[in-house]
């Protein structure tokens, strides 16, 4: 009995750990798309953030400096996206793809030029990483049944960025639904003409939305290379940006549902590690490639209509042209 509980707690623990970059990136996509800017470039911004975080943390020895630089780099990419889609009303999907491809090439090129190890960054020492934090009382409570493992394994023992990600969920909901800025941001995604008529700049609002998205992607990237991993590895995002985007669509562009979808993806990721080489009743051992495929296949199945009617922000993807 205790054994099963421990297994469950460990899977839940891995789910929380793996959901961190997904939640941050999905929140980024949410902010951007609520202001009507489609952001396929989540993947590239995350990858850029991951590279900058690891490279700066390695050269300076400061993981905080790495995080800050990752956020700045990712926000610069957001500015580029904004310049193309908001200022020049370019195609948002094309711009996002371009950013993904630029970063997928640029990060290993710079990595090779700086560190000469095949485009990756050298392994970070523990001092230049976000290590797991033991919350007060975790050791003390460990022996207590039920609450003990729950608190010491599940709640305690994550890295700072994971706590930050979970703390940001209510903050972003509050910002979107309870502040004047959030109201305007949502309005610009539904009816930009009305916002414009009210004398508020559509462009500046959208720029702020994509900049917030950039900052969140930067943190997501840093969590990949300095918290979950200990270096930048080429293509280390491995589709997480696209999964985050899918999570946002399942989540119907709402924070709570989006986080639930992220946790679901992270859960398939977590059980994937545990399913490898395990004999299951009836089906036998599942080949590892099919387990890896799980989150992607689930995305398609869910998108095929198990999420009910999905309504995107009305102006999503449409550039705003001011009447003259």
């Amino acid at each position: 009995m205790n054994d099963i509980l421990m297994h469950l707690v460990l899977v839940a623990d891995a789910t929380i750990r793996m959901s961190t970059p997904l939640i941050l990136a999905a929140m980024a996509g949410l902010c951007s798309e609520r202001a009507a800017v489609i952001d396929i470039g989540l993947e590239g911004k995350m990858l850029g953030g991951a590279f900058v975080a690891a490279a700066v943390a390695y050269t300076t020895g400061s993981v905080w400096l790495g995080l800050i630089c990752a956020v700045i780099a990712s926000m610069l990419l957001s500015l580029l996206h904004g310049f193309a889609c908001i200022t020049h009303r370019g195609n948002q999907v094309v711009s996002g793809m371009a950013i993904n491809i630029v970063v997928a090439g640029l990060a290993p090129t710079l990595g090779h030029a700086l560190f000469h190890i095949n485009g990756d960054t050298p392994a970070l020492p523990a001092t230049a990483r976000f290590m797991s934090v033991t919350l007060p009382g975790a050791e003390l409570l460990r022996g207590v049944p039920i609450i003990g493992p729950f608190y010491s394994e599940l709640i305690s023992g994550h890295n700072l960025l994971t706590y930050l990600a979970f703390a940001l969920i209510p903050f972003i909901s509050w910002m979107l639904y309870k502040t004047r800025f959030g109201l305007r941001l949502r309005a610009v995604g539904e009816n930009p003409e009305a916002v414009d008529t009210a004398g508020i700049s559509v462009e500046w609002l959208r720029y702020r939305a994509v900049l917030i998205a950039g900052a969140l992607c930067g943190i997501a990237g840093a969590s990949l290379s300095t918290a979950m991993g200990a270096s930048f590895i080429r293509d280390m995002t491995a589709g997480k940006g696209y999964l985050a985007l899918a999570a946002m669509i399942f989540g119907k562009w709402k924070p709570g549902l989006t986080v639930t979808a992220c946790l679901l993806f992270a859960f398939t990721d977590a059980i994937q590690a545990r399913l490898q080489g395990v004999e299951l009743p009836l089906v036998g051992e599942i080949p590892v490639q099919f387990i890896i495929m799980l989150p992607y296949a689930m995305t398609v199945i869910l998108l095929a209509g198990f999420v009910g009617k999905v309504v995107a922000p009305k102006a999503d993807g449409i550039p705003y042209i001011k009447e003259r």
């Binding site: 020049h88 711009s95 793809m97 371009a98 997928a104 090439g105 640029l106 398609v300 095929a304």
Partner: protein, 367 residues
């Protein structure tokens, strides 16, 4: 004033050229930032792509891949569908081609060639069919579903190559070699039969098939009913419905043809050079197809030109990486990304300024 239009050569020639120039300028700045000389770097790039006969053969060989994937993206785009799944469709098409070559390889080449074309096209189309159906009937976002299908294709192919189709006794995830008669004839071999001596390169008959596909796509898009319906749905689905056109049907048709074109890429890569089914042979060419279609304005002639440019970039990039070890082949992706950004997303950046210059001139001339 508003009705005044830019002259055709500005629209189709000058604007793309300017955008390309900016893309290369920005790439040059990146190379400069890495402490290398961008002029020298582009020199190696151009020499590596066109400097000698063998290089030109390689450039054309890469261009062949890009014609297939570029046409695929373009056909879907005429129906306003973003087919980002070219990579997965090409991979699956390769499986179809591989199966034909491995299991029907005893047939003579004239029988294998159409079967292989069919195999590649069918498997590619089949892989595009599911996202197409979901878009047509359930409204699932085709960008997301095609991306997911790329990942799924990659997993499925790895499974097949590791577990089922692997060459006995080999450690590598690859099949046994295709029988000799399934190999796509090289252009230099064909030239030798005609008494012409050409430099040896992997350039093969697939280029001719690719060019035939260009003609077929041109006829299909602009001169058939299906093509017309597809473009009508792409322009304005609501109006198309009033015109008695079924958007769902148009979406299915354009995506199936798109997938079939992407699937044929393996003719060049697998039957032309690898002569076996290997892991990751698509090497991102499916994504490059997006850049090709954007640069080529979704027109076959433009696509051939854009493919030549990108082929030159791929072949010249190898020379560049060799001559300047500080710059790796990944730099090609960076340049390609900038090309997509400036020719695709920022295509209108120079338009207002050029409109001011050229349209003012026109009115002055008229006055």
């Amino acid at each position: 004033m508003a009705q005044a239009k830019l002259p055709g050569w500005v629209n189709a020639g000058l604007i793309p050229a300017l955008n390309l120039l900016v893309a290369f300028l920005v790439s040059g700045l990146v190379i400069l930032a890495m402490g290398e000389n961008p002029v020298e770097a582009f020199g190696y790039l151009i020499y590596g792509a066109f400097g000698y006969a063998e290089a030109i053969g390689y450039t054309l060989f890469y261009a062949t891949n890009f014609i297939f994937t570029g046409l695929a993206v373009a056909v879907a785009f005429h129906c306003y569908l973003f087919n980002i799944g070219g990579e997965g469709q090409a991979y699956m098409g390769g499986l179809g081609i591989g199966l034909v070559c491995l299991y029907l390889g005893d047939l003579p080449f004239w029988a294998i060639l159409p079967l292989a074309v069919l195999g590649g096209a069918l498997f590619g189309a089949a892989w595009a069919a599911v996202p197409a159906y979901l878009q047509a009937k359930r409204g699932s976002h085709i960008v997301i579903t095609t991306i997911m299908f790329n990942f799924i294709a990659s997993s499925v192919m790895t499974f097949l190559l590791v577990e089922w189709m692997k060459r006995p006794g080999s450690q590598l995830p690859e099949t046994t070699h295709f029988p000799d008669q399934t190999w796509m004839p090289k252009i230099y071999e064909l030239a030798k039969h005609l008494g012409v001596d050409m430099a040896h390169s992997p350039l093969n008959l697939a280029l001719v098939i690719a060019l035939l596909c260009c003609v077929a796509v041109w006829i299909f898009v602009w001169h058939t009913r299906w093509g017309y319906e597809m473009r009508a749905v792409g322009r304005n689905p609501a109006a198309a419905v009033y015109g008695g056109i079924s958007p769902a049907k148009a979406i299915m048709i354009s995506m199936l043809i798109s997938g079939a074109l992407a699937g044929m890429m393996g003719l060049n890569e697998l039957m032309g050079v690898q002569h076996r089914l290997i892991i990751n042979f698509t090497n991102g060419y499916g994504f490059t197809g997006i850049a090709i279609a954007l640069m080529g304005r979704n027109h076959p002639v433009g696509i051939v030109l854009a493919s030549l440019l990108m082929g030159a970039l791929f072949q010249g990039g190898a020379e560049l990486a060799f001559e300047m070890p500080n710059i790796t082949r990944d730099m090609i992706w960076t340049i390609q990304g900038f090309v997509i950004l400036f020719t695709g997303a920022l295509e209108h950046m120079f338009r207002p300024r050029l409109e001011r210059i050229f349209i003012k001139k026109d009115t002055e001339a008229a006055a």
